[in-house]
């Protein structure tokens, strides 16, 4: 088990319903001897003003246009796309809906973190509303993700809504709604509570678990657990996610509780 020095939390335009300070407080309770620091916007924290355009261009160029085609570094962003990313970096908009290559996005965040803080002893967690996906070589397509553990870890408040699958019945009804031109928000209301939605009041509670996945990634090299009731369970369905993060009778399985106890004894 690795020693952890500090946890840093960033806000890359995450959903307004997300209370990062509450997550920081939660982590401080779980990781008694590890400092937790809230740093705000990662670009505002590290990036010099004259680099904003440069990074806006880089982020605009990692958009995924077609989920069945792997991102290519030859993609040239349009002026309007760069301007949009500038607004995102400067915190002037939180309008999300663009899909990014997750590994490339993580690489760009990695670039702005100073070398002296790039270590597994430091847990960098970026909460973002950007939706990102990773390429699956076998299926030859992108898959949307909730989180990507690395340096930094990125957790998407859009990904937590879109990536884990909603109940099957939702998709069957949605198909009918789309054909009939009916309002999809009406459909959502009839499945209210069955999945985490945008600006969901349960979002902060759910994100605590994903933050702990990032912590365990640094701690033991594996962010996940097979136990469906453990917060570290890698949910692929909304039902599983809600159970693991909210409804389960316990937060962590015995094994992961032991790790935390050992960490707090250091």
């Amino acid at each position: 088990m690795r020693r952890l020095n500090r946890v840093f939390l960033y806000d890359d335009g995450a959903a307004r319903a997300l209370k990062i300070e509450e997550i920081a407080k939660y982590l401080r309770k779980k990781l008694i001897k590890v400092g937790v620091e809230v740093r705000g916007n990662p670009f505002a924290f590290y990036l010099l003003q004259d680099k904003v355009s440069d990074y806006a261009r880089k982020i605009a160029s990692i958009k995924i246009q077609d989920a069945t085609k792997k991102w290519s570094s030859e993609q040239e962003p349009l002026y309007g796309e760069i301007e949009y990313e500038k607004k995102m970096i400067l915190g002037k908009t939180r309008a999300s809906g663009v899909l990014y290559d997750g590994l490339e996005l993580q690489r760009l965040f990695f670039e702005v973190i100073p070398g002296r803080e790039r270590s597994l002893q430091f847990v960098h967690i970026v909460f973002s509303n950007r939706l990102f996906a990773t390429w699956d070589e076998h299926e030859r397509r992108y898959h949307a993700r909730v989180n990507l553990c690395g340096i930094p870890s990125i957790i998407s408040t859009t990904g937590v809504v879109e990536a884990p699958a909603k109940p099957r019945g939702y998709y069957l009804l949605r198909q009918q709604y789309e054909m009939l031109g009916k309002d999809l928000l009406e459909l959502k209301n009839s499945f209210k509570g069955a999945f985490i939605d945008y600006e969901d009041l349960r979002l902060t509670e759910v994100m605590k678990g994903y933050a702990m996945q990032s912590v365990f990634y640094s701690l033991v090299g594996d962010p996940f657990c097979q136990d469906k009731g453990c917060r570290l369970y890698n949910a692929h369905w909304q039902e599983e996610l809600i159970f693991a993060q909210i409804e389960s009778e316990y937060e962590f399985c015995q094994r992961h509780m032991s790790f935390l106890e050992e960490l707090n004894e250091y």
Binding site: K63, G97, G181
Partner: protein
């Protein structure tokens, strides 16, 4: 459609133009399509817009560096005539700015693409919750002299669609107009 839906905050435009509407749900409103459209057209005319009815967009007017400086149009009936006798000179309209509000077709942007000045991404899949905000945020100048609004924005940048709801169209148009005014003021053409 006889009815049009508008999501919040698009109802502000309906209020400004005196278009009657009803609330369906929290954040969702519905208006009569013909009434809304006629008020929009009337408001545009009252503001000084001149409509060139029965015309088609034919080509762009380009200046140095590929700057868009107007459009070339022709009368729609000309396109219905036999090709051998459609040697009717088109009409060039020069302007400081062109606004492409041609919807999914993004006709003006596509013409620019034909000439190799830009590469459009094609509109994306439907994503009701995210699409409208994205369209508004991406509204603006896509190429010197060319502003895009509405669904032309989606086609240009490959953004998701929102389905049959029109709030973002109204707001995107407003943003496009504001950007146009700023540019024209910047060029000291209007006070």
């Amino acid at each position: 459609m006889n009815k049009v839906t508008i999501r919040h905050p698009g109802e502000r435009i309906l209020d400004e133009l005196g278009i009657p509407y009803k609330k369906v749900n929290q954040g969702l409103f519905v208006a009569d399509g013909p009434h809304a459209c006629s008020k929009l057209i009337a408001s545009a005319c009252d503001s000084g817009v001149k409509f060139a009815n029965m015309t088609v967009f034919d080509d762009l007017v380009l200046r140095e560096g590929g700057r868009v400086a107007g459009v070339v149009i022709n009368w729609t009936p000309v396109s219905a005539m036999p090709r051998e006798i459609t040697c009717v000179d088109p009409v060039a309209l020069e302007s400081e700015l062109v606004i492409d509000a041609t919807g999914h077709d993004a006709q003006v942007v596509k013409k620019l693409e034909e000439r190799g000045f830009i590469k459009t991404k094609g509109f994306g899949a439907m994503w009701v919750e995210r699409s409208e905000d994205l369209i508004i945020e991406h509204t603006g100048e896509v190429h010197p002299g060319l502003i895009i609004t509405g669904m032309a924005v989606a086609t240009t940048y490959g953004l998701p669609r929102m389905g049959p709801t029109f709030g973002a169209m109204l707001l995107s148009g407003e943003v496009g107009a504001q950007i146009a005014l700023e540019k024209l003021r910047g060029n000291a053409k209007i006070k």
